[in-house]
């Protein structure tokens, strides 16, 4: 293999698995260290700069970082990254003095349609630059799906108010209660750019026999959730069936338990493991005594005298065709009937753009989705941008934030007459952490603790009130202990060939056998004959140039603990531990870097 090049932002970024997996590329180990240091406000601001809604995401994020976490590869479970974010949010001091300064008006006007996470991110990035940002939303308060669809027992309203408030306070022109019914009309108002962040507001229905007749007791999940959130619905029947296996289904069943549902079931077409819901959301539902029944396809809503009596299901099993594709086939077993008083349909969400005229030069694809550039988020009509669920269909808050940042960069470029394709590179840096012979400016003593569980409110208590937050969050002691589980993957092992005397000290001390000195070869061959086989092909090998003996040093990044013992043991300093920082460039940085977290 060729000598591995660690130049450019990507090589070391990939080693920081959590940051690489995060759509917004939040510097996770950095804020976890700040939490361990008791610097909650600083930890919060690192997050705020990157993902805009730390308190909200610290409770609700889909956490793509956690399955990626290296700790999960050397131990059973990853670091509780998401809930540590909440620790920062819960314990921070007043952050108002850290909010960005607002530049003098630059004379540009930008309209944002929707006040959800994507649009608010665009607003957060553009307002400090002097843009006049107008936000339209049909609801009375900002937040979008964060406010309407996420149940209060998972996310208290104060947290939404606070974090939406930080953005509103940047001098936005908020126009609540104003639904945009025509994009053409909005464009007619002469905005320099328009951003569409209207989400995926339409819940999919199930058109089965009995749907019309029993309509009074069949509800669309996301609509029902928002009615609960806004206080329009306060009760549900004693027996409830939730159809669907995603996170919305989990929110529906848990909300039902709090509104009088005693016998609540989730019934899903697929198997348990294939369900779209995150493992922890399924776990939370099961904890609240909600059974999840799998491989049952709804066939019919049964009813009597115009009232729903239950749902009829066909039993299926997963089979694989000759191409290995999974298919659900009826088992032939007799259909199963489950009685219930109410059904919640949570089988997916769709986008809907009835308010966008089709003659504006804005193209749609065959599924009715706008054609949006995946990098610039601009539509086929110059000056009109999309982001969040409105751009590429339903995803999670963190994706909406990441897309909002990118769209803001594009809007800024567009308004300043720049090239949209010319994206600002991330800021990267590499700094040695060596302070002395055994002293590093990070804590390299690896904690042996297993993942801590977030304490929950007593179940009886929690199920009484839909507005009582069920998770209590880590206290400071647990937060510190969980933070210590982080392996500091951003502190990189950097190797300098000319200094190496091939004494094997690093090989002998490495607790996870990730360093080998051997003859060079092709990657596949090398992976098989390292001190421990490098079987995780997603993880890179770092290969040195040829050393004095003609061999090369090969380091498998896969399970490196970043403990720095190789560097402590190295007699010549050929190994060094260097902290890699990568900060995404946002529109606000391009305009002079108004947000300073540290």
């Amino acid at each position: 293999m060729q000598r591995t090049s660690t130049d450019g932002p990507d090589y070391f970024h990939k080693v920081v698995d959590c940051q690489w997996a995060c759509p917004a590329h939040t510097p996770v180990p950095e804020y976890i260290r700040l939490i361990a240091d008791g610097r909650y406000t600083d930890a919060y601001m690192v997050n705020w700069k990157s993902n805009v809604f730390p308190g909200i995401l610290g409770r609700t994020c889909d956490r793509p970082c956690e399955p990626a976490c290296r700790r999960g590869r050397v131990e059973d479970e990853p670091v509780a990254i998401c809930r540590l974010k909440r620790v920062a949010a819960d314990n921070k001091a007043d952050v108002s003095s850290f909010m960005p300064a607002i530049a003098a008006p630059n004379g540009k006007r930008v309209a944002l349609v929707g006040a959800g996470p994507a649009a608010l991110t665009v607003a957060r990035d553009l307002a400090p630059l002097g843009y006049h940002v107008v936000v339209y939303d049909a609801e009375a308060k900002g937040g979008g799906m964060i406010r309407s669809q996420i149940p209060r027992f998972r996310l208290p309203e104060e947290v939404i108010d606070e974090e939406v408030g930080y953005i509103a306070d940047l001098g936005l022109d908020m126009r609540f209660g104003q639904r945009i019914d025509s994009l053409g009309a909005l464009l007619g108002e002469g905005y320099d750019a328009v951003f569409v962040g209207t989400g995926a507001p339409r819940g999919r229905d199930l058109d089965l026999p009995g749907r019309q007749e029993a309509a009074a007791n069949i509800h669309i999940g996301i609509d029902w959730l928002s009615s609960v959130s806004f206080g329009h619905i306060e009760k549900i029947g004693r027996r409830v069936i939730v159809l669907g296996g995603g996170n919305t289904a989990m929110d529906c069943c848990r909300t039902s338990r709090r509104l009088g549902g005693e016998d609540v079931k989730v019934i899903v077409r697929s198997g348990f493991d294939e369900m779209k819901a995150s493992p922890w959301e399924k776990e939370d539902a099961i904890h609240e005594d909600i059974p999840i029944l799998n491989f049952l396809v709804p066939k019919e809503f049964t009813h009597k005298d115009g009232k729903l009596t239950g749902v009829l299901f066909e039993e299926v099993a997963a089979t694989f065709d000759d191409k290995g594709r999974r298919k659900l086939m009826p088992t032939g077993a007799p259909d199963q009937h489950f009685e219930c008083d109410d059904v919640l349909v949570a089988v997916g969400q769709e986008n809907a753009f009835p308010w966008i005229e089709r003659d504006l030069g804005l193209d749609f694809d065959e599924w009715g989705m706008p054609k949006v550039d995946a990098v610039t988020f601009q539509s086929t009509r110059a000056g009109v941008f999309f982001g969040g669920d409105a751009a590429f269909g339903p995803k999670n808050i963190i994706w909406a934030v990441a897309q909002g940042h990118e769209a803001a960069v594009s809007i800024d470029r567009f308004c300043q007459g720049g090239d949209l394709a010319d994206r600002p590179p991330p800021m990267t840096n590499l700094v040695s952490q060596k302070m002395g012979i055994h002293e590093w400016s990070y804590d390299n003593d690896i904690s042996n603790d297993q993942r801590f569980r977030v304490p929950l409110r007593d179940k009886v208590e929690a199920l009484k009130n839909v507005k009582i937050e069920v998770e209590l969050g880590f206290d400071l002691k647990q937060g510190l202990a969980e933070a210590q589980r982080c392996l500091n993957c951003d502190v990189q092992t950097v190797f300098a060939e000319p200094l190496c005397i091939e004494c094997d000290a690093c090989v002998d001390i490495c607790p996870v056998d990730c360093i080998t000195f051997t003859d060079n070869g092709e990657e596949e061959d090398l992976r098989g004959r390292l001190k421990a086989p490098a079987l995780n092909l997603d993880q890179d090998l770092m290969v040195s140039a040829e050393l004095k003996t003609g061999r090369v040093m090969v380091k498998d990044e896969d399970v490196c603990l970043h403990c720095g013992l190789c560097a402590e043991r190295c007699p010549t300093g050929a190994w060094d531990m260097q902290r890699f920082t990568l900060e995404m460039s946002h529109a606000s940085d391009v305009g002079g870097g108004a947000c300073q977290a540290r």
């Binding site: 050397v74 091939e502 000290a505 607790p511 996870v512 421990a532 402590e568 043991r569 190295c570």
Partner: protein, 351 residues
Amino acid sequence: MTYLAKPRLHHPSLVPNELGFTRRDYEGSVSTLCAGCGHDSISAAIIQACYELDLPPHRVAKLSGIGCSSKTPDYFLGASHGFNTVHGRMPSVLTGANLANRDLIYLGVSGDGDSASIGFGQFAHAVRRGVNMTYIVENNGVYGLTKGQFSATSDKGSKSKKGVVNHDSAIDLVSVALQLGATFVARSFSGDKAQLVPLIKAALSHKGAAFIDTVSPCVQFNNHAGSTKSYDYVREHNESVNRLDVVPLRDPIHVDYAPGTTVQVTQHDGSVLSLHKLAEHYDPTDRIAAMSYLAQRQAAGEIVTGLLYVDPEATDLHEALETVETPLNALADRALIPGSGVLAKLNATLR
């Protein structure tokens, strides 16, 4: 040198041996030697060898004297018996322990000061008596603990870190061991685990006095130009006579070298040493030839490594003394004090 204990977390593919132990279970406490010390590599090789041999840690006794090398038993086999003896006295303590309990596996670890200076006599006598042991000298040719004076194994003409030339002749422990009748003699290099690990395995399964001289560079005081025990010098002058595979009794013998290039030696315990010849005509069972070969190559400035001599018919001190099979420390009073009748009988045979 590090202050941190090695983290408990390990590679997910780490496999347990027959006893259910992983290699990590054979480790000891964290080393306090200088960073880059060759001795740490030898510790790692011992750990690897014991893991591969499925040795029960509680059946191993590790003994040492004084010096950097003699500190190392703390850094491997943390669950084994240990005795850190007086300077140069490891061989006699080991001999005593071996006589008292012949069932343990004895591993003596020493250095060039401990074995070639203060303990030279002890070394000689333990070897010539044929004590069943593995005797490893971690040989760096320098007194590291006292800041870099020449040791008795420093080659004549080699230079100290400050540039002083050594005018004394060196003691070659391998030649001495051969002369004194050691039944297993090898030399290796701390920087070559592929060679060292099988040698330690073979020595541990050898019944008799097994001696391994391991050149182990002192990064702090003896790794400069002019030293004959530096990483660079040893790599340039290393002349390996053979490559060793140790095949335990239970495994089928599999040799992938061309016919005629391999010598197989079956040891007492049934294990087979499969030696791939690197030096043509080198016969590791011919003691006299080994001694003369060593002398020749040494004169040419080469460091001969590999399994230099092995006597497959080796016997040990217990056989010579005709001691009972039961370890002496396990004999009950009845056996140890058989009574006046037996004494009278014995005395009668001496009249």
